[in-house]
């Protein structure tokens, strides 16, 4: 795994798009060299193998889309449609599904603390780091053939541009035009493949500025917070649809996370 962490750091240094576009390239390189990605992945692996819940079983039989217990490449194939749940799921939604079905745990207990903090990442965040790490280097191939996958993509695309709330914001208010910034932050236009690819291939990630592990479900949640909207329900169709839409837009790019973010 150590090798992987270094490969990740190297990818950040040598990825030409990053090095040329971002004034943070040096910062990211330095951060990558000392970031505890690997520790988070190990923490997630422990949780994956730990028997929990009324059924006292681990998640090792969880089917992430490539068959029960198959981790390799599973994250790169998400979000996708799952017949057993009859809906499209992203990684976190699927993990939640496995916790509530395989392990027999309650939704309330499993979603009580989905977003952690600098002191302690959540179970969901550590598991996400572990599972995503097993897709490193593999091209993102989210599902897009099933009718519900098509519907989810289309819904995500509409949500991306949907303006609402007291400040009339949509995702596109900030992520809608090329070359724009909020304060000093560069804003990727996530409905265009050339901007979605370098971004969607890095989540989940370790965020240096807050010393915390961040996932895509967290990103959706925190954007809606800043948009002055009510809170999206964790693992809801709306959040999955947005993640699905952006992942399809980034389709084909090799996954190079879990990564380091500013």
């Amino acid at each position: 795994m150590m090798k992987r962490a270094w490969a990740c750091a190297a990818a950040l240094v040598f990825a030409p798009a990053l090095a040329q576009q971002s004034p943070y390239a040096d910062y990211q390189r330095m951060a990558a060299e000392s970031a505890p990605i690997e520790l988070f992945e190990l923490g997630g692996e422990e949780l994956w193998k730990k028997p929990q819940g009324p059924k006292n079983v681990s998640l090792e039989k969880c089917d992430l889309g490539q068959g029960p217990g198959v981790l390799k490449g599973a994250y790169a194939g998400l979000p996708r449609y799952f017949a057993d749940a009859d809906r499209v799921m992203d990684l976190e939604t699927r993990l939640l599904y496995c916790m509530t079905t395989l392990q027999g745990r309650g939704r309330e207990e499993t979603t009580k603390r989905v977003f952690g903090n600098a002191d302690q990442p959540s179970e969901m965040e550590l598991l996400s780091m572990f599972v995503a790490g097993r897709s490193h280097g593999m091209p993102l191939r989210p599902g897009r053939e099933h009718a519900k996958e098509k519907a989810s993509y289309a819904l995500g695309q509409k949500l991306y541009f949907h303006r609402a709330g007291p400040w009339d914001f949509s995702c596109a208010s900030c992520h809608g035009e090329e070359g724009k910034r909020i304060r000093m932050s560069e804003l990727p236009v996530l409905y265009k493949p050339q901007y979605a690819r370098p971004l969607m291939s890095t989540w989940p990630a370790y965020r240096v500025s807050t010393s915390s592990v961040v996932t895509l479900q967290w990103r959706m949640n925190d954007c809606y917070r800043q948009m002055r909207m009510p809170e999206p329900v964790f693992a809801s169709d709306a959040t999955v649809a947005l993640i699905h839409f952006m992942t399809v837009t980034a389709e084909g790019v090799p996954y190079r996370g879990p990564a380091i973010k500013r």
Binding site: A154, H162, C174, R183, R228, P230, V233, D237, A238
Partner: protein, 209 residues
């Protein structure tokens, strides 16, 4: 039973949203599409703190901007702008407040989020999108630079009125502007908007140095 009935429009939404739009393009919406997206928001979001579910309810202007991809036909745009302009409450007298207070309001990105304490005075988040005082390096670029704003335009009453109105309700001048309606939404008070007018128009403000 009630739950099932509520979920029906959302389920219909998922099916009706399936018209494929190519990657990298913005979808065109029908009124039906918009109602269905709204049904999904009502189902998949919940109130938290001061961010109530009323916030997903669209007003006439938001509906029009969503339906026309922020580019309504000119006649509709004029009608929308006129209605927004009519609703602006302009105070009597001079509109130039305290630019120092205005600078603090422009800096502050607080307010109206579920993480903000209700009742705490909101900021304008102005620097998130605009260059304002040339002394502040961390400015956004979504909106135009406002450095030297008053120096170029002076500060006669019509200019004061325009700046006050623009901050109070940017949509009165550009129907689907990306700028929030800071006065109309109740985010900023009359005095706060005057202070921001001061920041842009007072000759002593760093904006005009």
């Amino acid at each position: 039973m009630k739950k099932t009935v509520l979920l029906l429009p959302a389920a219909a939404a998922l099916v009706a949203c399936a018209t494929p739009v190519p990657v990298g393009e913005r979808p065109k919406l029908s009124a039906g599409d918009l109602d269905q997206v709204n049904a999904v928001l009502k189902r998949d979001f919940h109130a938290r703190g001061q961010a109530s579910m009323e916030r997903v309810q669209l007003d006439e202007l938001q509906r029009a901007c969503n339906l026309h991809a922020d580019n309504p036909p000119p006649e509709l745009a004029r009608k929308l702008e006129e209605a927004q302009l009519q609703a602006i409450r302009f105070p009597e007298g001079g509109l130039i407040g305290d630019w120092k207070a205005g600078e603090r309001i422009a800096q502050s990105g607080r307010g109206a989020m579920w993480s903000d304490k209700p009742g705490v005075q909101e900021g304008g988040s102005c620097y998130n999108c605009h260059q304002i005082s040339p002394k502040v390096a961390a400015f956004g670029t979504i909106g135009p630079s406002l450095a030297g704003f008053g120096k170029m335009r002076g500060n006669r009453p019509e200019i004061q009125r325009y700046v006050y109105g623009k901050i109070y309700n940017a949509k009165a001048y550009n129907a689907c502007s990306q700028m929030p309606r800071l006065g109309a939404s109740g985010s900023l008070t009359e005095q706060q908007i005057k202070d921001l007018v001061g920041l842009l128009l007072d000759p002593a403000s760093p904006v005009n140095q």
